[in-house]
C-alpha cells in the first residue's frame, strides 16, 4: 500500500537535514568498537525499487537510497545541509557560469575495477538525455547546450498518434571530453546553480559495462561509491557490502548491509523495537501519536527536519481561484501551528516561508500569507466577493494525508464559512493525472522536496511560467523576469538576492499555500553505537559504527 514517490511529500519522502544535535545520535561513548564494526553487519528498512537501478531512471526513494550509496558524484551535499563540496571533482571552474571546466580526481575506481574517467560522465549524461532512452530524469540535462537536439518533444503528447521525431543528434554539443580526467560543459544560458545540481543522482558517472546492456546493469548495478552491490532478491532484500578500494572519503566502517524490503512501515517498526532491524528512516504514524516512539526507543529515537514542505496549491486556471485576495483569505484562515501540534504532534513545523528554510538561499519567515489571522481573512474574503459553491481540497488517499487535509478543510470552513471539504483520490496515479492535465476544480495537496540544495529549486519549477511542477499554471511576468535574472546571475550570492525579490512578489500573489515544513523521525537499534543522517535524511552508511 505504501507508495513512495520522491517528491510526494509526507510519508513517502526521505529527505532530511539531520539536526546538528541528532546527527550524531546515541551512545555515551564517542564512537563504536572498531573491532565490532570491522566485520559488522546491519539490517535496515527499505522499499522495493520501482525500476532497475539506473541513476538517471530512478525518481523514487526505494531505489534512490540505494543509488545514493552506490555512487559518488562530482559534488556531494554535506550531512549538515551546508553548501555542496567537491567529491569526485578535483575542481569545477567557470568564468561566466556558462562554460564549466571540470577536472576529476585521477585513479578512482568503479566496483568492477575500471577507472573513472571523464568520458564516463559525458557518455552517461548523453545516454540519459537522449530521448529514445526514455530516462525519467532526462529533463535535468536541459541546461546543457544541444539538449534540444537529442531530446525531442512529442508534438501531440505521449498519448497522441504521432510519435516524437527522431532526435537530430545522439550527443549534446555542450559536452566535450578534453582528456581522461577533464571535460568541459557548455550551457545554453548562464546558470549559477549548475555546480550545485551536479550532486543529484541523475549526474552520476556510469562504467563502460553499462552501455553494453543497460537492462542487465539495472539488476546488477556497478557504481563508484563506498558501497558495493551484492544481490537483489525482489520484494525480499537487497544485499550490499563495503567497497574496499574506495578512496574518495572514509570507507564504510562496517562490512555488510542488508536492506530488508517492507510493505508496511508498522511491520518494520515492530521489528525495530524488538531488535530485528537496525535502522528505520521514518517510524509510522501510529507510533508518533502521543510520543510513543520516544518511549519505545528512548535515546535511539532521532528527530530531524527535512527540506520538504507540505503545500496546498490552487488551480489558477480555474476562474474561481483567480482573485488573489480570495487565495490570501483562504491561506490566512489556516492555523498552521494548531495543525502541526495536533495532527503531527509537533514533529513538523508550521510553514512560514516560501522556500524551505533549510535550503541555502532561503529566507525564513518571508511568507506573510502563512500567518493565522481569521479577522483579516474574513475582510479579504468579503473584498473578493465571497466564494461560491464547494471548495474541495484533494489529496491522494494512498499515503497518510487524510488527517491534515481534513483539518485544513475544517479550519477554512469554521473561520471563513466556506463549504470546504477534503476529498481523497484513491491512487497517486489518478491524482497526478488530473493535476498534470490541469483538470482540478479545487485546491490540491502538492508537497515539494528539493532535488538539490538551492533556493532556485524552490522557485523555478514551482512558480515560473512553464516550470516543470507549476501545475496550477501560475504566471506573473515580473516573477519570470526576476527568476531568469537570478538563474543566470554570475554568482550564487547575487542569484539568491534576485530570488528573494521574486519571492516578495510571489508572496503578494499567493499562488499556493505552504502549510508545514517536513520532519523525520527515525530510530536505530542498540547495536548501532554511532551514526549520522545524510542531507536527505537517509542513513549515512559510512558513518555507522557498532
Amino acid at each position: 500500500m505504501r507508495v513512495s514517490k520522491r517528491a510526494s511529500g509526507a510519508l513517502a519522502v526521505g529527505a532530511a537535514f539531520a539536526l546538528v544535535a541528532s546527527g550524531c545520535s546515541s551512545g555515551n561513548n564517542d564512537g563504536g568498537d572498531a573491532g565490532a564494526s570491522k566485520d559488522g553487519a546491519i539490517v535496515i528498512d527499505g522499499t522495493q525499487p520501482e525500476n532497475p537501478l539506473v541513476p538517471a531512471n530512478t525518481t523514487e526513494t526505494g531505489g534512490g537510497k540505494i543509488i545514493d550509496w552506490l555512487f559518488t558524484g562530482l559534488v556531494e551535499y554535506p550531512n549538515n545541509g551546508g553548501a555542496p563540496q567537491n567529491a569526485l571533482a578535483e575542481s569545477i571552474d567557470t568564468k561566466d557560469s556558462k562554460v564549466f571546466t571540470i577536472k576529476i580526481k585521477p585513479n578512482t575506481k568503479f566496483h568492477d575495477g575500471t577507472t573513472v574517467k571523464a568520458e564516463n560522465f559525458t557518455k552517461a549524461w548523453n545516454w540519459a538525455a537522449y530521448g529514445p532512452s526514455g530516462a525519467q530524469n532526462a529533463s535535468f540535462f536541459s541546461d546543457i547546450q544541444g539538449f534540444g537536439d537529442v531530446f525531442t518533444e512529442d508534438p501531440d503528447g505521449p498519448d497522441g498518434p504521432k510519435k516524437a521525431p527522431e532526435p537530430k543528434a545522439k550527443e549534446m554539443s555542450g559536452l566535450k571530453v578534453i582528456d581522461d580526467t577533464t571535460f568541459e560543459v557548455t550551457l545554453s544560458a548562464p546558470t549559477a546553480v549548475f555546480p550545485t545540481k551536479l550532486g543529484y543522482s541523475a549526474f552520476m558517472p556510469l562504467p563502460d559495462v553499462f552501455f553494453a546492456d543497460p537492462a542487465k546493469f539495472g539488476k546488477n548495478p556497478i557504481g563508484n561509491g563506498p558501497v558495493k552491490f551484492v544481490s537483489w532478491q525482489d520484494d525480499v532484500e537487497i544485499k550490499l557490502t563495503r567497497f574496499d578500494d574506495y578512496s574518495l572519503r572514509d570507507k564504510m566502517k562496517i562490512k555488510d548491509v542488508t536492506v530488508k524490503i517492507y510493505q508496511d512501515d508498522t511491520a518494520a517498526y515492530n521489528d525495530l523495537v524488538s531488535g530485528n532491524l537496525d535502522f528505520q528512516q521514518q517510524v509510522p504514524v501510529s507510533s508518533l501519536a502521543g510520543e510513543k516512539w520516544k518511549n519505545d526507543l528512548g535515546d535511539r529515537a532521532i528527530a530531524s527536519t527535512t527540506p520538504t514542505t507540505g503545500i496546498i496549491a490552487f488551480p489558477i486556471y480555474d476562474k474561481r481561484f483567480q482573485n488573489k485576495d480570495l487565495r490570501r483569505a483562504i491561506s490566512l484562515s489556516i492555523n498552521r501551528q494548531e495543525i502541526t501540534d495536533k495532527i503531527f504532534f509537533g514533529n513538523r513545523k508550521p510553514a512560514d516561508s516560501w522556500a524551505n528554510p533549510l535550503t541555502p538561499g532561503a529566507e525564513p519567515g518571508n511568507c506573510t500569507a502563512c500567518k493565522f489571522d481569521p479577522e483579516q481573512a474574513k475582510q479579504l474574503l468579503a473584498k473578493a466577493g465571497g466564494f461560491k459553491g464547494k471548495l474541495t481540497l484533494s489529496y491522494n488517499a494512498d499515503a497518510s494525508h487524510k488527517e491534515w487535509m481534513e483539518a485544513v478543510a475544517q479550519q477554512i470552513k469554521t473561520n471563513l464559512g466556506i463549504d470546504a471539504v477534503a476529498v481523497g483520490v484513491p491512487t497517486f496515479a489518478v491524482f497526478r493525472q488530473n493535476i498534470n492535465a490541469h483538470k482540478m476544480t479545487g485546491a490540491y495537496r502538492a508537497g515539494w522536496q528539493q532535488d538539490y540544495p538551492d533556493v532556485e529549486n524552490w522557485i523555478n519549477p514551482l512558480y515560473v511560467t512553464g516550470g516543470s511542477s507549476n501545475d496550477g499554471l501560475y504566471s506573473n511576468p515580473e516573477v519570470d523576469a526576476l527568476a531568469k535574472e537570478a538563474s543566470s546571475a554570475p554568482s550564487i550570492e547575487e542569484s539568491h538576492k534576485k530570488f528573494a525579490e521574486a519571492v516578495k512578489i510571489i508572496d503578494q500573489d499567493v499562488p499556493s499555500m505552504p502549510i508545514y515544513f517536513g520532519g523525520q523521525q527515525s530510530g536505530h537499534s542498540e547495536k548501532i553505537k554511532k551514526m549520522e543522517l545524510s542531507n536527505v535524511g537517509e542513513l549515512d552508511i559510512t558513518s555507522v559504527e557498532l
Binding site: R6, G9, D235, T266, N270, A429, F431, R432
Partner: protein, 308 residues
Amino acid sequence: MGRYLLRRLLQLVPVFIGTTFLIYWLVWSVPGDPFAGKCGDRPCPDNYVAVMTEKYHLNDSIWVQYATYMKNLFQGDFGTTFSGREISDIIMTSYPNTLKLAVVALSIEAIIGLSAGVLTGLRRNGFLDNLVLISTLFLIALPVFVIGFVLQWLIGVKLGIVRPTVSNDMPITELLLPGFVLGSASMAYIARVARTSIAENRRADYVRTAIAKGLPMRRVVGVHLLRNSLIPVVTLLGTDLGALMGGAIVTEGIFGINGIGRQVLRAIVTKQSATVVGIVVVLVLVYLVMNLLVDLLYAALDPRIRYE
C-alpha cells in the same frame, strides 16, 4: 459421473477465458494514467512515456492487447512488469508463500472454528455459546488491519512471544499469528455452521439410537455426531482456501510476507493488466478446481444429490 466430470472439465475452458478477459478488461479500465504518478510531483518526460507505451503495446485496442497476451500465455510467456521483472518469476516466488499462509490460516480456522462449533452446538444458548458468538463476531466486525495491528503489537512486541514479522524462510511457528489474523474473519462462519449442523444432527434418529443402546457420550459425539456434521464444514473449508489466498493482501503487508497480495495491488494501481491477470489466473484455477471438488463431494457424501 465420468461424463459429468468430463463436461465440467470442458466447461472450465470458457470460464477460464471469461475470467481472464474480465480481469484484463477491468484492469484496463481502471482510471488513471500508469505513468502520471511515476515521476513524483512532476510529469514524466514524454519520451519516457512513449518508450514504455511502445514496449507494452498500450496504444493497441483492448482486444489486440488481450489476444496478444493470451497467445503469449499459451506459449508459456507470462510477460514482464513495467519494472522489467518476469511475471512467471513473481508467481514462482510469491505463490508458495501465500499458499503456506493460507493453509496455516485454514488449519487454525478449522481447529478453532470446529471445536467452538461442537462445544456450542451441544450446549446451545449457554454462557459458552454466547461467549463464542460475541468473540467471533468481534473478529468478523473489526477490519483485519485493526486486528493485525493490535495482535502484532501485543503478542509480537509487548509480550515478545513471537517475532512480530515473518522471516524470509517462513517457519510455521512464525506463521501462526498471521494465520490466526487471516483466518479470523472466517472463524465465525465455521463456528456458526458447525454449531447449527451439530444441533440439527443432535436430534437425528441415529444419535438417539446410539445413546439408547448405551454408547458413552464421548463416542456418540466423536464418531456418530461429528462425522455426519463435518460435511458442511468440510465443503465450506474447501472453497475457503482460494478466498484466503486472494484476500491475504492486508495480512501479508502487516506481517511482511512476500506474497501475491502486494503484487496484485501494486499492479492494479499502476494498471499492469498482464501482471494482474498472470497472478489472478492461477488463483482462478484454484477456485475452479476447488469448486469442482466440492460439487463432486456433494454427490459422494449425499446419495440424494445426483449428477447426470
